[in-house]
Amino acid sequence: MVLLSEDVRKKLQKEFEDLSGKVKLMVFTQEFECAHCRENTSLAQEVVSLSDKLDLEVYNFTLDKEAVERYGVDKIPAIVVEGEKDYGVRFYGVPAGYEFTTLLAAIKAVSAGESGLAPQTRETLAGLKDPLHLQVFVTPT
């Protein structure tokens, strides 16, 4: 299954030339009772094929319990975007349409290890004492 057109692949290859650090897309999937898992895995495969800075690891949500627990994945399909460390960046559901742009932005930011946030935002976040869990609900269009 090819999800990205030749044109898009070329553009992405060019964009990925600027990646500095390696990025791993860790896909959590299963073979049954997961309507969008196959599409999600295919999309991740196609994306990582466009740069040697990108790697893919595929985990089985049912069988790879250690990884599921380590990355706190509680539903599928899921993609963990990991760079030098696990920054806590997750996608649940296929990042298609508008969310594909969000995936690209996440890959670039994780690769650089740079949030790109304003100094004031950074200062506020540096003062955090307890964990924050953000869930952002989106739709593909």
Partner: protein
């Protein structure tokens, strides 16, 4: 924005959730419009807010 915050702070983790694929969460969190952000199950807000406003909403969860 949420992902950027996760990259910035080790205490922040951020999930982007495709609403149509997880209808039970749409019901659980009363998602009527997107984007909708839920912080620590305590604070919720709708809309793509500019950075300072997004931050202000997120930080509300720390005051609870």
């Amino acid at each position: 924005m949420a992902h950027r915050m996760a990259i910035e702070s080790d205490l922040v983790r951020a999930d982007v959730v495709e609403a149509s694929e997880f209808p039970h969460l749409v019901v659980k969190y009363n998602v009527f419009g997107v984007p909708k952000t839920v912080v620590n199950e305590e604070v919720e807000f709708e809309g793509a807010l500019p950075e300072p406003l997004f931050l202000a909403q997120v930080m509300k969860a720390t005051a609870k």
